[in-house]
């Protein structure tokens, strides 16, 4: 087990290193740099001034040197300064990370509750109208672009019904900041969570069906246990194992979705920041963000694997 863990950790490190090289290379290949994007189209600045700015930002050194230098500092948590805002990138990311985590966490909770709930119902009532309805909804959510859903949500629940704020994370001078935040979280959280909800519904349904038809369930039923007890105690517990993994492995999708949803709802998290950074060609920030997000994903898949090995004794390691 320990050997496996070490192996798994090393493997994660290799991935991160690879991603860092990949991201750095991409940034190198891109046309234009921060100096170009800093200069607004209505201004004219002489090429000499631009050269001087490039020197100031250290953009004139060869790429490998900059990579090694960057990586050396990144390992110590120092990602340098954002070229656009001149703030330390670590501060920017630490500012934004909690905001994104709130959104992703909220979406996660919503989808787990809704997804597993409807999945169980659909599985238990297989082939009933409720099963079809759930399946239809699950498919529908997977088929509508997230941004479009978000815009409809804003229109219906914010503009028309005025139940929730249309954007942002807080109201100036709110009395109860916690409730205010929760109020702001509902629309983006639900919109972001719908895709995962749909996926979880389908996984729960098929996974539970598989378990329900297995021999030991038949045995359990034969023992005369009540159907509800059978489903919850034996069925769901076994079906949950792969579902936990699905959740962990779906995280990249959730984070990807957050880019769009954060943009639609003006949620100032990492996703929103990614888009801004990409548009501004803020390369140090782009590199740091890509790496930070990958760390989150790699870590969650690591945790999923470990959790998995703990709950499922059937998995053998070392092969």
């Amino acid at each position: 087990m320990r050997k496996y863990l070490i192996q798994r950790l090393l493997h994660s490190l290799v991935i991160l290193l690879g991603v860092s090289v990949l991201v750095f290379t991409l940034v190198e290949l891109a046309p234009g740099d921060i100096v170009d994007s800093m200069i607004s189209p209505e201004m004219f600045v002489t090429p000499e001034v631009k050269e001087q700015l490039r020197r100031e930002y250290g953009l004139d050194e060869p790429a490998p040197i900059r990579y090694v230098r960057w990586l050396g500092r990144a390992v110590q948590g120092d990602f340098g300064y954002s070229l656009a805002s001149r703030r330390p990138i670590r501060d920017i990311i630490l500012d934004r990370l909690p905001i994104s985590l709130q959104l992703v966490g909220f979406a996660l909770v919503i989808s787990v509750v809704l997804g597993i709930g409807t999945g169980v119902i659909a599985a238990v009532k297989q082939y009933s109208w409720i099963d079809y309805l759930v399946t239809l909804f699950a498919f529908s959510w997977l088929s509508v672009p997230g941004f479009f859903l978000g815009m409809l949500m804003i229109y219906i629940f914010a503009v028309r019904l005025n139940w929730f704020p249309a954007f942002g994370t807080s109201t100036a001078g709110a009395e109860n900041p916690f409730l205010d935040r929760l109020h702001h979280l509902v629309l983006p959280g639900v919109t972001l969570g719908l895709e995962l909800t749909a996926a979880l519904t389908r996984y729960t349904r098929s996974s539970l069906l598989e378990v329900l038809h297995s021999d030991y369930m038949t045995t359990a039923r034969a023992k005369g246990l009540r159907e509800r007890v059978v489903i919850v105690r034996h069925g769901l517990r076994n079906a949950l194992i792969p579902i936990i993994t699905v959740i962990a492995l779906r995280l990249p999708y959730l984070i990807s979705g957050a880019v769009v949803i954060e943009t639609v709802f003006q949620w100032p998290g990492l996703g929103f920041l990614t888009l801004t950074a990409a548009n501004q060609k803020d390369y140090p920030l782009i590199m740091a963000l890509a790496l930070a997000v990958t760390v989150v994903v790699v870590a969650s898949s690591l945790i999923a694997d470990i959790a998995y090995s703990l709950v499922d004794p059937r998995i053998r390691y070392g092969d």
Partner: protein, 566 residues
């Protein structure tokens, strides 16, 4: 031009306004012509009006940053809102500056002239320029604001190490050259004889000096004293404890969300009537409008694409201000475009009227020369280049146009309306045999590089509206030929002559000559004079005329006089 003792005239105007023989708007206009601060005018007007104030004081107002609705570079709603040091390039934080900082002069409410903010009055007399400051001005931290702060600011901006975009404003001040050469650390021509007087000695008369002060926030000397000028933009004053002297104090800034401000009790023109002011960042015009519809922000910049929607809201009104001209910039140095008949053909080929009516829905006027929003600079005999594709084809034939190349037409406004206009322009040009491919500049620097290297052909862009005709030389003067490719000695002579006189009638004569040359030579293919559209909640009273500025300077005036109904 002096305004020292105009108050008696003004009293008479007020009396006439009160008995209704001139309209309020007219009054403000005339007062503006006298050089009186619109804030002052409005204050006096309110005082002159009998009865209780229409809206109670206090309350909170939330505004929206220009999220690109006005097609300007302003309001990048990003992390960098404070970090783009305005000393170097300004632009992105005009809205914040307007509220937090103070300037010597600002635009008049009718946008045609300048009025004093910190300056109580000024005299422009040949090579002598004198500003009298209002007494009792203080900074947000309580320190007194004196003439020496102004002198300090001017010297700081003009020093090359600061790399300020605004330094060139002072090119005609005595000692400017020495400062550039490094043989002096301050300009000999700037001085403060006493706490309330700033004197500028010029090498020659310069009518471009006063307009330049509109963009220059006065900086607190006691904060910036002794900082390394090459790092002045990294000073924490920009981002953290912002000390200005404007009507509102910065309370806190949430990146990408909002800026919270509160009324500054000792603002030199009087404490703002509202207590709190929030500026919201919006990534898109649409979110801003949705929030406007919810009543969150009371002001939302918009485009005609949402005209029907806003018109259908009974609590909203639409205010317009000049946005500036939209034009196709042409690389006149390129052999394919150097023949002016080709450029004139382009001008005839595009149906501006149809574009203005169908795409801008009347919120733009067809134009064929620059600064049309300053009527006094426009000659009567401008060629309107009315839509005439046959004429265009004939001109192209005369010029020997081959039409075997597809040219790149760059544009850099990412909004939907611009994209639609570009599509229309593309089709009009195609119809007479000028083929272009459209390309949106996403900031990757490709266009910028083409521009720097002179390999560009056509760029659709805008010259933001601003009431300083002298700035035209910055683009169309021979001094800018290496970048903007155009050079016409007659134009330069007319501009130079206008720069050296303070008399507006004389200026008008020279500017009209210059504008006529542009109209004939067409270094740019001018298309339309755009309007900014601003949706305003009727709860907010911003005065009459509403105090929204031209171009990117959205919240231009009188924020301290705004009132809001609870």
């Amino acid at each position: 031009m002096t305004q020292d003792h105009e108050v008696t005239t003004f009293d008479r105007l007020i009396a006439r306004a009160a008995d209704g023989s001139i309209s309020r708007r007219e009054l403000v206009k005339r007062a503006g012509a006298l050089g009186l601060g619109a804030p002052l005018v409005a204050a006096l007007l309110n005082a002159a009006e009998s009865g209780p104030a229409r809206a109670q004081e206090g309350g909170e107002v939330t505004l929206s940053f220009d999220a690109g609705a006005t097609g300007g570079g302003g309001g990048k709603p990003t992390e960098d809102i404070l970090a783009y040091c305005r000393l170097i390039n300004g632009g992105t934080q005009f809205e914040l500056d307007r509220m937090v900082d103070i300037r010597l002069v600002t635009l008049s409410a009718d946008l045609q002239s300048y009025v004093g903010e910190l300056a109580e009055s000024w005299t422009l007399d040949g090579t002598n320029v004198t500003f009298k400051l209002r007494p009792n001005a203080t900074w947000h931290d309580g320190e007194p604001l004196t003439a020496s702060d102004v002198v300090f600011t001017i010297n700081l901006l003009a020093t090359p190490a600061t790399k300020s975009r605004w330094g060139v404003t002072f090119r005609s001040v005595k000692g400017y050259q020495e400062l550039q050469d490094g043989t002096a650390t301050t300009m000999s021509g700037v001085s403060a004889p006493d706490d309330l007087t700033v004197v500028l000695e010029l090498t020659e008369p310069d009518s471009g000096l006063l307009p330049g002060f509109m963009f220059i926030s006065i900086l607190p000397e006691h904060i910036f004293q002794g900082v390394d000028l090459s790092k002045v933009c990294e000073h924490p004053n920009w981002t953290q404890n912002r000390i200005g002297a404007g009507p509102f104090k910065l309370v806190r800034l949430l990146p990408n969300e909002r800026i919270e401000m509160e009324a500054f009790d000792n603002y030199v023109l009087g404490r703002p009537k509202i207590d709190k002011l929030n500026l919201l960042f919006f990534q898109s015009v649409e979110t801003s409008l949705a929030a406007f519809q919810q009543g969150t922000n009371l002001v939302a910049p918009m485009t005609v694409l949402n005209l029907d929607l806003v018109e259908s809201l009974d609590f909203a009104e639409i205010v317009t201000t000049p946005a500036g001209t939209g034009a196709i910039w042409v690389n006149t140095a390129h052999p394919d475009w150097s023949d002016k008949r080709v450029r004139q053909a382009m001008s005839y080929a595009i149906d501006r009227k149809a574009i203005c009516e169908s795409l801008f829905r009347g919120y733009a006027d067809p134009v064929s020369s620059e600064i049309p929003y300053l009527p006094w600079t426009q000659p009567a005999d401008l060629n309107p280049y009315d839509y005439d594709p046959d004429r265009a084809k004939a001109l192209l034939q005369e010029a020997g146009w081959k039409g075997d190349t597809t040219y790149t037409l760059w544009y850099y406004y990412p909004d939907r309306l611009t994209a639609t206009v570009m599509e229309a322009v593309q089709q009009y040009l195609d119809a007479v045999g000028i083929r272009v491919e459209l390309r949106l500049d996403d900031g990757s620097g490709v266009r910028q590089r083409e521009f720097d290297e002179g390999t560009w052909h056509l760029i659709y862009g805008s010259y933001g509206a601003q009431p300083a005709p002298s700035n035209l030389s910055v683009i169309f003067g021979c001094q800018a030929q290496s970048t903007w490719t155009f050079c016409n000695p007659e134009f330069d002579a007319a501009m130079e002559a206008a720069l050296r006189t303070y008399d507006q009638d004389e200026q008008a004569q020279y500017y009209q000559k210059a504008i006529k040359i542009l109209n004939e030579e067409l270094p740019w293919i001018w298309l339309f004079d755009r309007k900014n559209l601003i949706a305003v909640n009727k709860k907010l009273n911003t005065g009459d005329p509403p105090a929204f500025g031209p171009g990117h300077i959205l919240y231009a005036n009188n924020a301290h006089l705004w009132t809001v109904e609870e």
